[in-house]
Subunit: 391 residues, 2 copies
């Protein structure tokens, strides 16, 4: 910065680039098997169907124009129908709002729901994109641990009993990123009851719910209470390039988000929103597509978890990977995954240390492994390299 | 809102929907000729070229994936080449940042450049999307009038001499929305000199610069000083559906924007960014396309200004419409355009009253007319209806 450059805002002080993104840049070398990514497999994305939908959309000049801030009407209708089926109640159009990926929903909700200093409860480890939003909103963060049944709602109840009053509780309810677990039905009901008793919002962040392997995810947290704002996305089931996420939220929240969306970027793309609408509306095609993705991701997850358990044995505890994109591994032998990482990269394998997602604990004995973009043999080879690095 | 609904943030207090957007909803009736819009003509958008580029982009699975927060690399290269030619200096890639339309650039810059309470100078009348951003950032707003040569830089100099120290001065340098005027070369040089002397940022917001009719717009304000952040967009020259805007800014600003973009929406669409890159890189095709749009918009502007001057005569002063999308009309006979609007709608014509863009003055004697989406005969008919409404 030259001596005469005007200053930047204090908001940037201490704000750092995402550790994961910086790491991804380092592990793009072709000789490294990266389990560090968090990307869906682009080879499984429905390129032909998207190309056909794009061609159809571009026969209409109106798809080239600006569209409504809340999203292109027919896409919102498709989403309302799908979410009505999922939530077991008729979801009106006014409660559906389309965003530029569900990250934008988080960002706009941070502004609509949080005053500076508001308390936000997140899970520990947390989705870092949500943490970034809540910190930018000036929120005070409290973290609740996860176990095999998801968020420790009993710990949340204790926090509330101590007199803490969150404005918002954030949960990745299904196939947690990075923790791999799914919140049990009993905990969903308890969490919803706490929200109504204490008057807080739940943000149910659910990009992975459709990516189940053996059985569907439990009923949405949003089916238990009107205090739940539910987020989902086409990025993991169709393609991130569409930049289509959506929220299901009370009308008053959607109208607040609409005002802020106008200032944030006016509106989304009518072209990519029509592509998403066409593909999501075609239930037969979508079902077959999802079955294929579930089958392949399921095989990869099984291969990865199998190799981890076979080769690392009692040195680790691994999640089962019942869906989603990630396996979470806790070392029980004192291995420090931050210290291990450079050795692992030397051995040709990369992962994200648990500490990158940690909120109030160190999680230096844990790692997140992504199984979406490697086949079973490659995943097994990756675990062999990891074992060699820990030797 | 049910009695048990948790509260929203105080940010929403007093925040209102854009007056223009609400008005547009009222004037969508087919019997009304609306000069109230602010949309480019979708019939002139290059639908076939976009369809060909989409088909080509979708042969590559990588275009379905997430892309870089700063924008897809090859698009940034095309933009760097174009902006280097425009600014007369080599613009490095690190100084090019792609946003979701230039509205997102404004929004992210509001966060990167402004602390709460910072002084922002805008033009009066102002682009309302910029005002919304600066108000949301908690800025204190001062407004400087425009005349036929654009911003009254002498008035800005007086404000600075009084001791005011803006963090940022916003200008729509070419074919101003809503005021229709272009800043003269002399004022550009003076404004840039003030920015360096007093150490403030200039945001040169230039979505219309390529839409000149008889002669190109003057050299960019950004060619006079490194304190200028230059914004432009593909929305008005290609199609809004691409959601491609960009900024040219010092590296330190781009890196700040990058951090905030990750939290705002992670990244743009690799699909629409490749479409934009292909079309902007094809100089022969783009030149012919822009010549066509300039010719047609120019004819429409001439028809509208001619009809206004012929039929309203000395009752008004109208801008010349040398480019862009808007004509600004000041009534000299005491007509109140807010009071006139319902009568105008009864007579089948709509416009936006000047007061919708006013910052510190009322501008109730002014109106903005958009000429992009009606042919010459329709524009003449619209003015006839306007005359009838004022009778």
């Amino acid at each position: 910065m030259s001596p005469h450059t005007p200053p930047l805002s204090r908001r940037l002080d201490g704000l750092q680039s995402s550790a994961i993104r910086d790491l991804l840049k380092l592990t793009a070398r072709p000789d490294i098997i990266s389990l560090a990514g968090g990307l869906p497999d682009e080879q499984l994305m429905p390129r032909d169907a998207i190309a056909r939908a794009a061609e159809a959309a571009l026969t209409d000049p109106a798809r080239l124009q600006y569209t409504e801030s809340a999203g292109w009407g027919p896409l919102r209708e498709v989403l309302a129908a799908r979410e009505s089926a999922r939530l077991g109640r008729p979801v009106p159009l006014s409660e559906i709002f389309v965003t530029h990926g569900s990250q934008q929903a988080l960002s706009l909700l941070g502004e609509v729901l949080l005053d500076p200093g508001a308390l936000v409860v997140v899970e520990d480890p947390a989705y870092v994109g949500a943490l970034q939003v809540f910190r930018a909103a000036g929120a005070r963060i409290e973290a609740i641990a996860l176990d095999a049944e998801g968020m420790r709602v009993d710990a949340l109840a204790e926090l509330l009993a101590r007199g803490e009053r969150p404005a918002l509780v954030h949960t990745v309810s299904n196939f947690h990123n990075p923790r791999g677990v799914t919140m049990s039905a009993a905990r969903r009901a308890e969490l919803a009851a706490l929200a109504e008793r204490y008057g807080f919002w739940i943000v149910e962040d659910d990009p992975y719910g459709e990516l189940w392997f053996d059985r569907p995810a439990p009923e949405a947290v949003a089916s238990y209470s009107p205090n739940v704002i539910r987020l989902s996305s086409a990025s993991k089931i169709l393609a991130p390039t569409l930049r289509v996420g959506w929220m299901v939220a009370p009308d008053v929240v959607c109208r607040g988000v609409e005002l802020l969306k106008q200032g944030a970027d006016l509106c989304g793309s009518a072209l990519t929103q029509q592509i998403a609408a066409d593909l999501l509306a075609d239930e037969g095609w979508l079902g077959a597509h999802l079955d294929k993705v579930r089958g392949i991701y399921g095989e990869r997850a099984t291969a990865l978890v199998g190799a981890v358990r076979e080769r690392l044995g009692e040195r680790v505890v691994s999640t089962d990977a019942a869906g989603g994109m990630f396996v979470w591994v806790d070392f029980t032998d004192g291995t420090d995954t931050v210290e291990l990482l450079p050795r692992a990269v030397e051995h040709g394998v990369a992962y994200v240390p648990g500490s990158a997602f940690a909120v109030s604990r160190s999680l230096r004995g844990s790692m997140r492994l992504c199984f979406t973009t490697s086949d079973a043999d490659t995943l097994t080879e990756a675990v062999d390299r990891l074992v060699a690095a820990t030797a």
